[in-house]
Symmetry: C2
Subunit: 112 residues, 2 copies
């Protein structure tokens, strides 16, 4: 099975699932409520929620027949940590490159 970071990125690679997450950020909801706006079957949404759950983005409890879905926003940190790490590395590289170019500009015209 894939690692969690892969599952989180993959889960959010689908627009419907991102929309579900966006709506769950506002409020918990049942599967039926979540499915209503889309013109796909309830089962399809249930599958999407399973993917989100396996990524750790969402949890489902039980309230009689209802299965309230709840967003687990902490998992976002996994992604932001990864992203920020490499963004920062890339930016540092740019800075070093800038510094190098600046030094080369300075020595321009020396030693004819």
């Amino acid at each position: 099975m894939a690692d969690q970071l892969s599952r989180v990125f993959q889960a959010l690679g689908d627009p419907t699932r991102r929309d579900l997450v966006a709506r769950l950020a506002v409020a918990d909801a049942t599967v039926g409520e979540l499915a209503a706006p889309y013109d796909v079957s309830l089962q399809a949404i249930s599958k999407h929620l399973k993917v989100l759950e396996e990524a750790g983005l969402v949890s489902r409890s039980r309230d009689a027949q209802r299965r309230p879905v709840h967003l687990e926003a902490e998992v976002f940190d996994l992604m932001t940590k990864w992203i920020e790490r490499y963004r920062q590395e890339a930016e540092e590289r740019f800075s070093r490159l800038d510094a190098l170019l600046a030094r080369e500009d300075e020595s321009e015209g020396e030693a004819p």
Copy 2:
């Protein structure tokens, strides 16, 4: 075709592609250099790079037969913006919930 945000998330949903990005954060590299560490064909890596390119995460220039690959870190912002937006919404909701619970605790024991 999918929107860019979907393509970026999907691109990073694959561990090999995340690894390529990680290595490109350190330095630009040619396709051959990038492919060397993995035990898959050069063509497979070329495909991965195409996915990264279509997501806007990477650009390829031309230097003789070489095709240096360069990381375009700005696209990360697309993701972090999306993530931060919904994380924040979710956190605000928690704060409101905490406040509500606090108020209920205060009125505990009143009106017997």
